[in-house]
Subunit: 419 residues, 2 copies
């Protein structure tokens, strides 16, 4: 089966945004064995979109559209396709209800043009939008599959994964099942990871191993094909073991784990509480942990102490210590961790200090970061980072590294408890 | 003049990389008045590329290709186009010299296939590559312009800006220039914004007005074409005035402003300092402000007080007040703002409290947020939000709304200072 991805939106042709949707969809289609032969971008122009559909029909079996499902007059993807395939638009009750709810809740008045978003092809399967108003849809016409998705990535991505992929799997009728296991790494670069597991990578054909770098570390996706899920998983397990034997120290989780979800899970399971004192990250570490539902049980709170005076005034960090070792030091990170732990009465304390940039801090090079972690029954740990990104890349990576070290700290605590 | 951008590379169709080249080139072409009508991505496949060229020739005057100029057997962009237009390939001496130099410098041995990179169409203008080995080229055939560029962005971008743009300006012989003004909005949806300025949108052809929604609010891009930059800007000014007259209250900045950069600029300019007490956002508000270099001068710091006890213990919020009005209340937001301002001795205090979800908080519906802002010379302001997103969308929007209200608060303070 061959696919073409058609992104609709003049903002793409004006270069105002990047077509990340094409990348996301291409990757997901590859995973289920559908080859993408073309990606096309066309503006908010019915005639040109119609022309693009005509060309795509001749060279692909699956046309995946993104964008142009919204309420404005520029949004004309549905209207153009419905004419092309000779269907009609009807209002979808569930979608209309979702839209009405949205407006009721926000106390804003629903304008007439918003109702347009609930219109779907009368013969289509509706793909629910859990993160926005416009539903997606999927329909087959003359042997061609038409899949329509909204443009905003945070709406499109979950819709595609949760509803379009199962639909397309049904269409392809593949018997072969695919199972994936994802290992999540932090603190090691993609190139180094690949280098260290090169012997394993080279001999593999089934399962395959695909590394991928992201803002939150590197992932390895181990994918096996077999007649059943069980058999596929049996192919994966020994390969995972081989990889962990070499680079297991950098693994912080699997599959859908994120740094914050893994840390929260460990805090919850052990009944530990945490507080943090943040300088260069100014709240980013706590904000990341705060992503997790129910975190209030474990996150006692913390302080943002950006400048030197605040560290002394708010956390009683010793001025003499700051004068001797500087703000960006192992000693300061440790003092922040100890002080905030005491102040909030938590079982774990974390301190973050560093020079985010763009200017060095009192002679400390940009990218130098110290992280301190202390807890009731463990030695103080401090870690130094030497980051080389922009100010905000450095701040983000400092927060992520702190969560990664927190997870490793808790792994050690858990191991100790077992004896 | 109409252009089509054709990116060649199977890695794009596999979703391994994003097509940032199309965005970059589109933006630059718009600036010199060349409209991009289509962007196409095709794999490393000569037949399919040939087909794509055939289609593009019928609908565009300028075909800009990226990728497939390298030394490997997958690289076949030149070879396919040269057949299509009936030219021949010759070795370019300067390009060959560059390649030889590159290998000499790196101490590596030049393999035969690397010479292939120096081949150019015999009738083409060569576009030098200052950051890699493969040169680009530009040639006209039967009224169609063919511009070939390398794929790696760090090679393509300077080549396009420094050599392709001047070539295309020569071809178009245009005098017309384009100027853009971007207005940035928060607190109003794209549909409502468009609805309210509909009369202005309808009558406009030059300048044009394009709305765009993003995570950080909505933008309106006003773009005018004229003989000079001055004249273009004169067309933009009255339209901006008309828009501001209707929806100016939602404008927080222009052009490259972000919520955090605008807030930081106003804090810096007025010498004001700020502290925040964050509950549901757990540091997100301060982390956003922390993006701005030099923020330490204005951001005194703050506290994360996630649970009820922390609010009482750390900020001496009155337990009776919490019992009477609840944690998610105007009164609690105000108390947080007042207390953190006093604690950190800042001129402005901000308090954030709310129910982020997924579960309601003590009967308060998910998405309810209260923001309090207080400062030395102004009345306490509190704002209620009723958000309808996921937990983390709600937290992000609460932090963004708080910065938006902070900007509006400071605008009022500035106006007061002027009297």
């Amino acid at each position: 089966m061959k696919a073409e991805i058609i992104a609709v939106g003049s903002e793409l042709l004006l270069g105002q945004i990047t077509n990340t949707n094409a990348q996301f969809i291409s990757e997901k289609l590859a995973e289920i064995g559908i080859d993408v032969h073309f990606q096309t971008v066309v503006g908010d122009n019915p005639d040109r979109l119609d022309e693009v559909i005509g060309i795509a029909k001749k060279r692909a079996d699956v046309l995946v559209f993104t964008g142009g499902l919204g309420p404005t007059k520029d949004d004309m993807t549905k209207e153009t396709i419905v004419k092309h395939i000779g269907s009609t638009l009807v209002s979808d009750e569930e979608a209309l209800f979702t839209i009405q709810q949205y407006f009721e809740k926000s106390g804003r008045v629903m304008t007439e043009n918003n109702k347009k978003q609930a219109l779907v092809f009368k013969d289509a399967i509706v793909l629910p939008n859990r993160n926005g108003m416009a539903p997606g849809m999927a329909v087959e016409k003359d042997g061609i599959q038409y899949v329509l998705l909204p443009g905003p990535p945070h709406e499109m991505q979950p819709m595609f994964t949760n509803f379009a992929i199962p639909y397309l799997l049904g269409v392809t009728g593949r018997k072969e099942v695919i199972s994936s296991r994802v290992l999540k790494f932090y603190g090691i670069g993609e190139a180094e990871l690949e280098y260290r597991i090169q012997p394993i990578l080279e001999k593999q054909t089934n399962p395959t191993i695909a590394p991928l770098a992201s803002a939150e570390g590197v992932t390895l996706r181990i994918t096996a094909k077999a007649e059943s899920l069980d058999e596929a998983n049996k192919l994966i397990a020994p390969v995972e073991g081989e990889i962990r034997a070499i680079v297991g120290e950098y693994v912080f989780g699997v599959d859908d784990d994120t740094l914050s979800s893994k840390a929260a899970e460990m805090l919850f399971q052990n009944g530990w509480t945490i507080a943090a004192a943040e300088s260069l990250t100014s709240g980013l570490f706590m904000a990341e942990l705060g992503k997790e539902p129910g975190i209030g049980v474990s996150l006692e709170g913390g302080v943002v102490v950006y400048n030197e005076q605040a560290k002394v005034d708010q956390l009683e960090v010793d001025q003499g210590l700051l004068d001797e070792f500087g703000i960006v030091s192992s000693e300061c990170a440790a003092a922040l961790a100890v002080s905030v732990k005491r102040k909030f009465g938590s079982s774990i304390g974390v301190g973050l200090t560093g020079a985010a940039g763009p200017e060095p801090h009192d002679g400390t090079p940009v990218g130098t970061v110290w992280i301190g972690i202390v807890s009731d029954d463990a030695e103080m740990e401090t870690y130094k980072l030497s980051l080389s990104g922009s100010r905000n890349a450095n701040r983000r990576r400092a927060a992520f590294f702190a969560i990664y070290y927190l997870i490793k700290h808790m792994e050690k605590k858990e191991a100790k408890k077992m004896f």
